[in-house]
């Protein structure tokens, strides 16, 4: 799966969490928590969906680093089998 495809799918997952947003409105290099006003419950649901869609497990201790779309995409790309 290309980086672009991962990015697009991740953006769609984020819009699932925050349906008030369009994928085109989400900046890739800005803090997701601030952009979308999401909290630990949202990240928990996002991690579950990332696991279902990409088959990538993001341990809780590593979630704190995944603050932007770019970082999430890089992590997913590096850990997909």
């Amino acid at each position: 799966m290309t980086t672009e495809a991962i990015t697009q799918q991740l953006l769609e997952l984020l819009v699932e969490l925050a349906p008030e947003f369009e994928t085109s409105e989400i900046a890739h290099d800005e803090d997701l928590r601030e952009q979308l006003d999401i909290d630990s419950m949202d990240f928990h649901q996002l991690a579950a969906r990332i696991y279902e869609v990409f088959e990538v497990d993001i341990p809780e201790a590593e979630r704190v680093e995944l603050t932007t779309v770019e970082r999430c995409v890089a992590y997913i790309g590096a850990h997909r089998t």
Partner: protein
């Protein structure tokens, strides 16, 4: 028209989810009511046949107004009356009895497209799609889970969440609380190190969708402590404390763009943790999408609020009337702690309690906080 909040006086019927002649079971979703807190899905309180829908879509009605007539088994048929048209108020309101907590819907009501299995409706709800227009492949053309991928995105609800109206509703409720409830405040610090260690070990053995959040353990501990100090779990009505039989924790949920709701997480003291986590996730998701149910708006017996995600170390909450307490959880941070005479780093958290001094006093409040912290210190027993 049910009362869906302490400050609610009227609501607007925006959608019927049943039609005359349809069989309903107590707890089934029957209508969507628009309130200042957003659109609330309302359950039916009896089992029987829908005889008559008495209020048209778009009509505003006061609390207690008759919205529909349900003929229970053995009752004679009711002579139909003309429904109240839009732009005129509903018929004379009758006093509404306080509804009992609704059971989970046992049968999924048909959608506008026809019958749909409970699993199909669950999938559609999870994916935010509408089953309208979906061709069912199940028995008698029923829509089943395999048909859900055909579904399209659900249209946004008209007036799903008027945040100005919600803000006014919150303002009324909080002003009433501060005006009428003599609050007292207590707080303590709890060592969350063993709790988080247990959580980490537990979650390591679970797939991501089934993992538990720290917030769940906080809610569970608050619920279990409420069993031990029941004077904090109930309502102040008619100049007296009514202790509740069940423990339904109100979970404060901040809505994106502003607004606040605190829907009830039912049976928070007794439901198995995996089921409670699933219920919490579902509750928060629906709260943010404006799809809460009437029972969730009214059944909370004690509320918790957590500001840790936003870096706040202590929360002194405002009690939601007619409840008699609210518990606040702050941010978990590494702090110096004395253990066996030595100062060591531990993961600490401030827990606070705001109590209604009419219903109980600081002694009971202190017992409650002590019980809550004790439960957090033994996470394996939660």
């Amino acid at each position: 028209m049910p009362s869906l909040g302490a400050d609610m006086e009227r609501g607007t019927l925006v959608e019927w989810m049943v039609e005359p002649g349809q069989q309903v079971t107590k707890g089934d979703l029957i209508a969507v009511i628009e309130t200042d807190k957003g659109a609330i899905e309302v359950e039916v309180w009896s089992t029987g046949t829908v005889e008559e829908l008495c209020v048209d879509v778009g009509v505003e009605a006061e609390i207690g107004a008759v919205l529909a007539r349900i003929r229970e088994p053995g009752d004679p048929p009711v002579e139909a009356t003309a429904p109240v048209p839009a732009a005129t108020p509903a018929a004379t309101p009758k006093p509404a009895s306080t509804p009992a907590p609704a059971a989970a819907p046992s049968v999924a009501p048909p959608t506008a497209a026809g019958r749909a299995s409970p699993w199909a409706r669950h999938l559609a709800s999870q994916r935010g799609v509408s089953l309208s227009g979906v061709a069912g492949t199940g028995p008698d053309g029923a829509i089943v889970g395999a048909d859900v991928p055909q579904a399209k995105a659900a249209p946004a609800r008209a007036k799903g969440s008027d945040l100005d109206a919600m803000r006014r509703a919150v303002a009324r409720a909080m002003a009433k609380s501060k005006r009428e409830i003599p609050h007292y405040y207590l707080s303590t610090e709890v060592d969350m190190t063993p709790t988080l260690a247990w959580l980490s070990r537990t979650n390591a053995a679970l797939p991501p969708p089934e993992r538990l959040l720290p917030a769940l353990l906080l809610i569970r501990a608050a619920a279990k402590a409420a069993r031990e100090v029941p004077q904090l779990n109930g309502f102040w009505r008619d100049d007296q404390l009514e202790m509740a039989d069940a423990v339904h924790i109100g979970v404060a949920v901040a809505l994106r763009g502003g607004g606040l709701v605190a829907p009830a997480l039912h049976d928070a003291d007794s439901k198995p943790l995996p089921a409670l986590m699933a219920a919490l996730s579902d509750l928060v998701r629906r709260a943010r999408r404006g799809r809460l149910r009437g029972s969730e708006m009214t059944d909370a017996t004690l509320t918790t609020t957590s500001m840790g995600d936003r870096g706040v170390e202590r929360v002194d909450g405002v009690i939601y009337p007619p409840q008699v307490a609210i518990v606040g959880f702050g941010r978990i941070t590494e702090r110096p702690w004395v253990v066996d005479g030595a100062v060591v780093p531990r993961q600490g958290m401030t827990v606070s309690l705001a109590g209604d001094h009419r219903a109980h006093d600081g002694h009971l409040g202190a017992r409650y906080l002590t019980a809550l912290c004790e439960h957090l210190s033994h996470p394996e027993a939660l």
